[in-house]
């Protein structure tokens, strides 16, 4: 053992060298994790899933809108006319807007996920670097955890496209007003979601005998 603090200095040098080596190795590993092809694939998969989910919603809305428009135009006697063409064009525009909006939402969500990973990467590097100064490391980690959870909650919500075909609402409203007007003239009132007739027969109170699962037959 040498005098003048030799062994302590040597131990401190060893500790610092080990710490530096550990940090260098850890930072390299962390960078490779967050830049790995697997991680990149996760962003792509997420974006594709989000896009497919949005398009699924959009397609369902379009199917409903197509059907409603057909009925509405037919009720008003506008099928095959210029109004039909205009409404169909509007519906196509709304659909295209929905496609773009869904792509935008999916892309934005994937970017958010990437940004979140970048923040997490920096946080992990900070933890590795801080080493034994772990009081600040702990604080940093806990603060980062809150950020992660907040981001995760925001990300977790599947994006809602909203009603993409609300622009055609006038047709339905006009059509239903006309329908109600006709019925008031005829003195009849119908119930149900699918219009006044089924197989050409009037459906009104008491006109149908229905067997609900697990229940007795009832007249509606």
């Amino acid at each position: 053992m040498c005098g003048g603090g030799g062994s302590a200095a040597k131990a401190a040098q060893q500790q610092e060298a080990a710490r530096q080596a550990g940090i260098t190795q850890a930072v390299g590993q962390i960078n490779s994790i967050y830049g790995s092809p697997q991680r990149q694939q996760q962003y792509t998969d997420f974006q594709n899933a989000m896009q497919a989910y949005n398009l699924n919603q959009l397609d369902k809305q379009k199917t409903d809108a197509d059907r409603n428009l057909n009925f509405a135009l037919a009720r008003q006697g506008l099928t095959g006319g210029s109004a039909d063409a205009d409404a169909s064009a509007n519906l196509a525009k709304d659909y295209n807007q929905g496609v773009l909006k869904s792509e935008q939402a999916a892309s934005s969500a994937a970017s958010q996920l990437q940004a979140q990973d970048q923040a997490q990467k920096q946080q992990l590097i900070g933890l590795a670097e801080s080493g034994l100064d772990a009081t600040s490391a702990s604080n940093q980690a806990l603060t980062g955890l809150q950020t992660n959870l907040a981001n995760a909650m925001a990300q977790g919500q599947a994006q809602d496209l909203g009603d993409m075909f609300s622009g055609l609402a006038n047709y339905y409203t006009n059509s239903q007003q006309a329908d109600a007007y006709r019925k008031s003239l005829n003195g009849t009132q119908t119930y149900g979601l699918f219009g006044p007739t089924l197989n050409g027969q009037y459906i009104g109170p008491g006109s149908l005998s229905v067997q609900w699962p697990g229940q007795n037959t009832t007249n509606i």
């Binding site: 053992m1 005098g3 080990a18 590993q29 962390i30 697997q38 997420f46 034994l132 772990a134 990300q155």
Partner: protein
């Protein structure tokens, strides 16, 4: 040999003893400091191991488990609510056309719902995965905090130990006294 020379020898001997004492004190201080640093090195290695474990967990982390788990939950919910969802389609007595279309639509409902569950679980999975990763980082922060506390405590104790390693005050006082005496005796 005169009194002055004797005083000089005595002063030199005491000074030598004091120097040895000081040197030994410094060695003990050095040894204590080195021991403290080694203890902190062990703590550092523990911290490094925990960091390495966390890095390994992050490297192995993927959304597949979260997606499968989420999908199971969605399918289970759909299964539980299936009867109510298809109650209207299951009505009877409405005619052959209705029966045919209802049977086909019931299949559509199942396909649509399963597809939706798959997409929703795929959308949810990365967030759930990162939530779990966040918990892992939080755990690491807590563990490093504990290690840091241990290291700070160790540093404090080591500092106290080093500070308590002092030269023998009596020997130092004797050395100074002898030196002063020898100077006085030599001057006569």
């Amino acid at each position: 040999m005169g009194a002055g020379a004797a005083a000089g020898y005595i002063a030199a001997a005491i000074a030598a003893a004091s120097a040895v004492d000081q040197n030994q004190t410094m060695r003990r201080q050095d040894a204590d400091a080195a021991a403290g640093i080694r203890q902190n090195m062990a703590l550092q290695q523990d911290a490094n191991k925990k960091i390495a474990n966390t890095i390994q967990q992050q490297a192995a982390s993927n959304p597949a488990n979260a997606q499968a788990s989420q999908m199971d939950q969605y399918l289970q919910q759909l299964q539980q609510q299936q009867q109510l969802a298809q109650q209207r389609l299951a009505r009877t007595g409405l005619g052959d056309a209705y029966n045919q279309w209802a049977a086909r639509d019931a299949g559509d409902v199942n396909d649509y719902s399963t597809k939706l569950a798959g997409l929703m679980s795929a959308v949810d999975a990365p967030s759930l995965q990162r939530q779990q990763e966040g918990y892992t980082l939080g755990d690491l922060g807590t563990e490093l905090g504990i290690i840091g506390g241990d290291a700070a405590g160790n540093q404090y104790v080591t500092g106290q130990q080093v500070a308590n390693q002092r030269p023998n005050p009596w020997l130092q006082a004797a050395a100074q006294g002898a030196k002063a005496y020898a100077s006085g005796a030599g001057g006569k």
